[in-house]
Symmetry: C2
Subunit: 431 residues, 2 copies
């Protein structure tokens, strides 16, 4: 802190979000100073290309030299907005070790290194804030840390990837197939040229690791989370789901089950009147269930420069208040590490769409295979018959079943001579 | 604080919420002590009737003598759950003056005396927390104080009265009239025997005063807020609104308009696909619009002993962390007081339902009266004709108009010989 008592900030990263944060700190400097009772000064910006125009960054504070920022004793708060794992995690570690507060929007860093970085912050009497790492501008990290702290959290169910929610909404509304909806999302800038991280659920997995670790006061690593993307969904699945009274959403789910934690990212059938079923387009939503509060739901824009800026600056102001108020950072104690329950131990209902020979006795053969595995059929509808190939399409909903049994039973079913193909199978969330 | 470093709490009020808080503090004592690093001790409970059984309250700490609680220097945090204005506001003032932190769930106290109590807390180096005063267990006070602080809030739109939302949902789903839906709500315990405070919007007005004061960093008093209840709504209005693509909700709205604040509680027509239109039953929801974040939406149970307990204990733990960490309470600076914009200056669209003589030329007479007041009709539908009385029912939607002009024009319209009755008129929120 400089001698005049102002709180000094360095930004690592001067891209889209960095630009929004720099601009807002300049434009709202008076308002933030009034709230804090001290000036908040942007003292350094680390970027790669000094020649790029940055209207809100005084050239005198721009640098390409990380050491100049990290080793400057006058910097109080380091704001990491680089968005990649390295060197971000090293820079954050150095800043914490030097007794600086850190604010980061980096989901990959927090998902993979969060517990170690939080411990490092605690050792150095500072804190690391990461509200912007999940859900853009939606307050969710701070509500889990503070507002819902009295609860034992029992479940989190979240739509935390705007790209996939946009694609699924388009598929649902327009009857589009996946490829078509993806192309549209790419044209509109809602999907990357290489959409793998989003459509395969990797992005949602990082975010769920952060939420679950916080909610269960445990360590849930990305690799502990079952992951399945949305690429196999077809227009037919949406049509049939809708006829059955369900929407299809990519949910990130973490649940306390039998003293363990079950965490998974995959498409689900969700009753059409469930609050999360009504969250459309690029919106994000996080539903938290606690033993006291019941269900609370946080919705809003999950990405974008200004919504992310909203979360980053809230964290900066929180860090600044700690510095000014001399508050000792309070670190939420980690409970005994939760046992991760493997996906094969899931119990849920299933939707199965399959193409079969169009003749009597077929359903009996399928039901027998499922029955042998203790899986009972709740309903079955013949959807379409194709006289040319003499096949029919069946849609089945099962009662609650064991995932491992379901997978092996489906293999058996697929082996039946009368079964041409299992078109898709999806898990059902009864919320 | 006793010498062993534990943080001590006194509850004022041992009713429904007080019981939930006492029970949870006992049942979860270990978990909360782990989070804080110190025990959290319930040291006193003030109630009226010592003979009433209270399984989670040690009789040795029960008292009917307020002074015993308020004058005890070992009490760190006073939790006010009495739910009436007096003597609650006096007790809170005494506790703050004595340097104790205060947690309250009292909307009436905070709506009417919030600014004075916050100033008193600041003078005494402590703080007053009131998360449970609005929206039960939904985090909304703390998000406005912390998570959205980087924003200039432009609007709040909220469903913050579960009783009326339950009644409106029943009227919408079942075609019930107000009286019928109210009786059902009373039978189910969702409405009080005397429902006036809820159905006339008084409860929502208190809560909006709290939210608007915080969001606009100003003082918005209950009497600054226009209020209109739901008692005049009929099954017909729901039917016509639905045909036009709208839901009817009781919204509490506060908006920054031309450097002033417009605040109002009344039923509105809301596009059926707006997020708030989908909030049904006793659920509450608060939508906040900020210049950075866009729109965020917080939903959940707005009442009930355990959801309220969730919010109260979060505040208790926050206060306890301040006491332990030696944090100086940071008080959000109040901006220049906002000018309250009178309801007569509202510009919005209107829905008008009226019964008229069923003969040619009637609409021309009505349109002329409206046109004289600069109000233009967007659409008009003749809904029902009654040959017996030779009358017809018209439903009109206007373009945006000035409330004062609209009211005087409607008086003129009502004076027309061809107009039998103005059945209802409702404002439209295009969200």
């Amino acid at each position: 802190m400089p001698k005049d008592g102002s709180v000094t900030i360095a930004l690592l990263g001067a891209g889209n979000v960095g630009g929004g944060v720099a601009r807002t700190l300049v434009e709202k400097a008076d308002a933030y100073a009034r709230q804090l009772g001290r000036p908040l000064v942007l003292a350094a910006v680390l970027g790669r290309d000094p020649s790029k125009p940055r209207p809100y960054v005084d050239p005198a504070i721009f640098t390409t030299d990380a050491a100049r920022v990290l080793d400057d004793p006058e910097i109080d708060i380091v704001v990491e907005l680089m968005g990649v794992e390295q060197p971000a995690v090293d820079y954050i570690s150095r800043a914490l070790a030097a007794g600086k507060y850190v604010v980061t929007a980096n989901k990959q860093v927090m998902a993979k290194h969060g517990p170690r970085l939080l411990a490092l912050a605690a050792q150095n009497g500072v804190d690391i804030f990461f509200e912007a790492s999940v859900g853009g501008g939606i307050p969710i990290i701070s509500p889990l840390k503070r507002d819902l702290i009295a609860n034992t959290v029992t479940a989190i169910s979240a739509i935390i990837n705007g790209t996939t929610n946009y694609i699924l909404t388009a598929m649902s509304r327009e009857g589009a197939d996946f490829g078509e909806a993806l192309r549209r999302a790419q044209e509109l800038g809602y999907a990357e040229p290489d959409p793998t991280n989003d459509v395969e659920g990797e992005d949602a997995r990082y975010k769920l690791a952060i939420l679950a670790s916080l909610a269960f006061r445990s360590t849930v690593r990305p690799e502990d989370i079952y992951r399945e993307g949305i690429t196999k969904l077809t227009a037919k699945d949406f049509r049939y789901a809708s006829e059955l009274g369900y929407a299809i959403k990519l949910l990130a789910i973490a649940r306390a089950v039998n003293g363990g934690i079950q965490a998974r990212v995959h498409p689900v059938l969700l009753p059409a009147d469930a609050p999360l079923a009504k969250v459309d387009g690029v919106l994000n939503a996080v539903q938290v269930e606690g033993d006291l509060v019941g269900r609370v739901n946080f919705q809003g824009p999950g990405a974008g420069s200004l919504p992310t800026t909203s979360a980053v600056i809230a964290d900066i102001l929180d860090a600044a208040q700690s510095i000014i108020g001399g508050r000792r950072a309070i670190h939420v104690a980690e409970e005994a590490p939760g046992r991760i329950i493997p996906m094969s131990d899931l119990y849920t209902r299933y939707y199965v769409r399959l193409t079969v020979a169009d003749r009597p006795g077929v359903l009996a053969q399928i039901a027998t295979k499922l029955g042998d595995a203790q899986i009972s059929i709740a309903s079955v509808i013949q959807k379409e018959a194709d006289p040319a190939s003499n096949t029919a399409e069946l849609v089945m909903m099962t009662h609650e079943a064991h995932e491992a049994s379901m997978l092996s039973a489906l293999e058996e079913v697929e082996g039946l001579a009368v079964v041409q193909e299992i078109g898709n199978f999806l898990r059902v969330e009864e919320q």
